[in-house]
Amino acid sequence: MSIDKSDIEHLCNLSKLNLDDEEQSVFLSQMQSILDMIEELQEVDTGDIEPMAHPLQMTQRLRDDEVTEFNDREKYQNNTDFVEDGFYKVPKVIE
């Protein structure tokens, strides 16, 4: 599989990440060598093998639907200065 500059731009957009021109060209060649390395997986016969999503064979636990966490809004909002009346501030979205 080979990739080009427009693929990198598309991936940057999907991952909400800007790269400058120099980064883009370095990434392009590095990504190509990473893709060549992972291409090796195609030679493995995986027929009807079950994909492994989790190392331990376990099922998701369920708990009773009770309140276990309490509102600590102020404490958590200490990690940004961009708060007003308990809300987070972002650039204007609606005109």
Partner: protein, 480 residues
Amino acid sequence: MMKRHTVKELQSMIADHSASSQEIYKIYNKRIRAMNDSINAFISIESNEYSSDDKQPDSEISGVPYAVKDIFCSEGDQTTCGSKMLSDFVSPYDATVVKNLREKGTVILGKTNMDEFAMGSSNETSFFGNVNNPWDLERTPGGSSGGSAAAVAAGMAPIALGTDTGGSIRQPAALTGITGLKPTYGRCSRFGMIAFASSLDQAGILSISAEDSAIFLEHMAGYDEKDSTSSSETVPKYTDFLNDDLTGKVVGLPKEFFDGSLDSRFQELVTDSICEYEKMGVKFKDISLPNIKYSVPTYYVVAPAECSSNLARYDGVRFGHRSTDGEDLDAFYKRTRKEGFGQEVKRRIITGTYVLSAGYYDAYYLKAQKVRQLINQDFLDAFKQVDFIMGPTTQQSAFKLGEKVDDPVSMYMNDIYTISSNLSGVPAISHPIGFVDKLPFGLQIIAPHFKEHELLNIAHKYQMVTDWHLQTPEICKEMD
């Protein structure tokens, strides 16, 4: 007191009142301040953990100080994950493993340097600068838990927490001449441990001896209702299993780990350690793990995929770096992430986005998960015939800083022996087995799921008859 001390030694000093825990804490704090300029093992140093009227809990590790990789949240402390993105982040709560240890009366010396978001094998991707290996300051201590490894090797901390996603505890332990344990996936809670690849990440320990790891693991491990992937398997008292007889235990030597590619001087050290184990009654058997050669490509699909998803949370809104530019929300996100993340992290986010994107999911991600199953099956089959698997931890000793930094694939190959145990979830330990050109080298031992007690015992038995783990770098002697 300036020599390196094990946790075991500190325990007896506290017990027989030859040093108080406050005195011990102060000595380590002083030592960190004196050495950190040359080693850069710590991103932040604690100093006010103690007031003399603190009532200490009654536990066997009460008063023992330790270092924490800066990937674990610790309440009220700066927690950076080695990234500009989190350089001002203050944890609002404790990670469960930190909370568990705090409740037993241990005290945090500081937060250790690491590759950014634990992505790297040389500590060079840290926003806070690379860590220097105490054995040779021009070399890497390995990564990503390089700060924790260097701190223990240099005697700046008796023991340290690390995380291991593809070798990030074992590889730096090997490169700095200490012991590094990656427990079974799910053995320790991941709550409050900043996520990189959630199906691979596991908290563990870097220590001088396997015995010290056994002492700490018991207090760290266990089921946590805040981590649904943590295991409810009973946590044994690991120290009870130390000194169990090894006679009749069978160790598998996978031909894939002994394919002749290892430098003969390293091979000699591995052979010597195998002889040592033979003297203890251990039997060796050649085995094969046929799919293990696909570990690195499998990992570099699974880990970036999970990383790209986990790191989506860094958007500059609620915490972390925030760009002052960006005319609209989309541009704001993109600039924040461009400014906040380093090169390696960006590369993995983009790789992960690629393997998960429409049209490539089946070919890469699903395929990798199937190969992961085959690799896991290789381990399960092998452990029907053997109790342990052994091989070198790394292909070489500590390399020069800057040597591989521009070549990601060659950097990724550093973890060729360690990655497979993360894919399968089995526990593994690295312990030092000697030196080549004054640089330490490590042996890796892998055990079946939840057999940490056997793993710690076998490494401990080796450390009872050898003293490689007690060798100290020159830089420590200069301190005395």
